[in-house]
């Protein structure tokens, strides 16, 4: 690998004196003309457990091409020596270890399955009490999953409408966030200061406790009943009376839970009906897509054929 993303500073670093010398040496000669040594791990080289020869060996072992992540600017003159903590060898290459002190992948990505489960159960349980801080970590992993599932079930019914689902979700999220920000009582002055200073939550622009991230998160989680309805639509045609009833129930359920969440997060508890109506319209949009995507009883195709 010839590309080193980051050229280390060849000047001696104060942290580790021994490696400063190594650094100077390795910087020129680290290219893989060195004999590959299977014995010394880069770790040992980093800690100076071996002698100079070990360090030489280690430098040739691995040019993993991790150009951007040397362990220390001083200590690792070469990216690939793995002084950053990567082990060498075949087993390590196929393993799942990484750098030392690295947080787990899901935690790094911000995907917290415990929270996702808690929020999903809150949606599914119509009589649950909603904590005001439930939406403080407004993640979008759950909503994306639900939208993808909805699109997949529509696909299994024969309609490739992922783009429309995505467009409706995005448009609805923007406009509903705007409407509810306007409807919620304005932030008091110290709340505005807090929002500005630490990004603690709440949008300074629209002067409310709702942000686009939080709104999208709530809307996405509350889409779950409609996902169930579309799953049902794969099995039985939604274009019949029972289909209409099921989808209407799903819409009512979605609206009920999302209006509860918005009222709590946006502090608009006395306007729940007014909050519920735009949400009902939003979910009716999805419901329309679910109903008219089903293969149906043939009524729709017959109508299309006769006109």
């Amino acid at each position: 690998m010839a590309s080193y993303g980051y050229q280390p500073n060849p000047a001696p670093q104060p942290q580790s004196s021994y490696s400063a010398q190594n650094n100077l040496n390795f910087y020129q000669s680290s290219y893989p003309q060195q004999p590959v040594s299977g014995h010394s791990t880069p770790f040992q080289a980093a800690y100076g457990a071996g002698t100079q020869s070990n360090a030489y060996g280690a430098s040739g072992t691995a040019n993993y091409g991790f150009g951007a992540f040397p362990a220390q600017a001083g200590a690792s003159g070469q990216m690939g020596t793995g002084q950053s903590g990567l082990r060498t060898g075949w087993l390590a290459a196929f393993g799942t270890e990484g750098y030392e002190g690295e947080p787990p992948l899901l935690e790094e990505l911000g995907v917290n399955f415990g929270h996702i489960q808690m929020k999903t159960l809150t949606v599914l349980n119509p009589v649950a009490r909603i904590d005001q801080n439930i939406m403080d970590d407004a993640d979008l992993a759950g909503p994306f999953l639900f939208c993808a599932l909805f699109g997949t079930f529509l696909l299994l019914s024969g309609k490739l409408w992922f783009g429309y689902v995505c467009g409706l979700a995005a448009l609805g999220a923007f406009s509903l966030n705007f409407i509810f920000s306007m409807m919620s009582p304005p932030l008091s002055q110290d709340e505005m200061n807090a929002a500005q200073s630490q990004h603690y939550g709440g949008s300074n622009h629209l002067s409310s406790t709702l942000t686009l991230g939080r709104s999208s998160s709530v809307l996405g989680y509350c889409l779950l009943p409609l996902v169930f309805a579309s799953l049902l639509g794969v099995l039985l045609p939604l274009d019949s009376l029972i289909g209409y009833i099921v989808v209407s129930l799903a819409i009512a359920w979605c609206t009920y839970s999302s209006s509860a969440m918005f009222c709590v997060v946006g502090r608009m508890t006395n306007m729940r009906g007014l909050v519920a109506y735009p949400l009902a319209l939003f979910y009716v949009g999805f419901g329309i897509m679910a109903i008219f995507s089903s293969r149906g009883t043939g009524r729709i195709d017959a109508m299309k054929a006769e006109t």
Partner: protein, 289 residues
């Protein structure tokens, strides 16, 4: 101890990082300042400050305006923010005054109209998701044209205060309520075959007259305010000639303009066939179902 991400210790990299951070901060401040210049958030919040009772009574008012008695907006005397001892009068928000215009009802009516036409088209077997977008664009064209009329009227009528323009924008959206009622009733009676026929035209005529009456009564106080009211901030009496010009505008606007737009909106019923999109095939042609 080898550290992950040690390139941050490099002074050059740190300087670059700080520059990036300050650049982002400057950019954000710029956006915030200009955002507040284009959209007056606190003024808009006034129009969404509604209550359940207000929405119900206002919707009934739009459909049955005949017997409503006082049409003037209530005012309140609040202490002036400049603390010089004088009081400024402001209009009460919609929550406390049923005569005050709001933007919640027009916005909801607009979206309901889009969804309702799409639903009816779907029940007729002509659903495709593009319909949602097409109806939305069509209705947006109506709104934009109406805003254009109001904007031009603002110059002709010399309306200076900003809140008046927001009022006019809010009032222009109330016709969607009548349009929705027309389409819904016609769909039920005609079994979704469009808004033609006796029932459709009768309901249309009724909602049109109700909307015109409502606008005439309400806009009288917006365009021809009595002196010494909050919508006349400079306290100038409006000249005679201008008053008559405004009255003419009011009549033309309430009757002719609204008639044209309401007719256009109710005629978009898509039962005569989906408007041809470029390529002419639509989803059915592409997927062969």
């Amino acid at each position: 101890m080898p550290q992950f991400g040690g390139f941050m210790n490099d002074p050059t990299a740190q300087m670059g990082l700080q520059m990036g951070q300050s650049a982002m901060k400057v950019g954000q401040e710029y956006v915030e300042q200009n955002f507040n210049r284009y959209i007056n958030v606190s003024a808009l919040k006034h129009y969404f400050n509604v209550s359940n009772r207000y929405v119900l009574s206002k919707t009934l008012l739009v459909l049955f305006p005949w017997r409503h008695r006082p049409w003037s907006r209530s005012q309140t005397n609040t202490a002036s923010p400049s603390h010089n001892g004088s009081t400024t009068t402001q209009f009460l928000p919609p929550r406390e005054d049923v005569n005050s215009p709001d933007m919640y009802i027009p916005l909801m009516a607009f979206i309901t109209y889009v969804l309702l036409t799409t639903l009816i088209a779907g029940l007729n077997g002509k659903f495709e998701p593009q319909l949602l977008g097409m109806t939305l664009s069509n209705a947006s064209v109506v709104i934009i044209l109406e805003l254009l009329v109001l904007w031009l009227g603002r110059y002709f009528l010399n309306i200076s205060s900003e809140s008046q323009i927001y009022d006019l924008v809010a009032y222009s959206g109330y016709k969607f309520v009548g349009v929705i009622v027309t389409i819904a009733v016609a769909a039920i009676v005609n079994r979704g075959k469009g808004t033609g026929g006796w029932v459709g035209w009768t309901v249309f005529a009724y909602t049109f007259m109700a909307n015109a009456f409502f606008l005439l009564r309400s806009l009288k106080y917006v365009l021809l305010p009595p002196d010494n009211s909050p919508s006349n901030p400079s306290m100038q009496t409006i000249a005679r000639g201008q008053r008559s010009r405004r009255t003419q505008f009011l009549f033309v606007y309430s009757y002719v303009v609204q008639f044209a737009f309401m007719w256009w909106l109710t005629a978009l019923n898509f039962t005569s066939g989906v408007p041809v999109v470029a390529g002419g095939k639509g989803i059915k042609g592409r997927w062969g179902r």
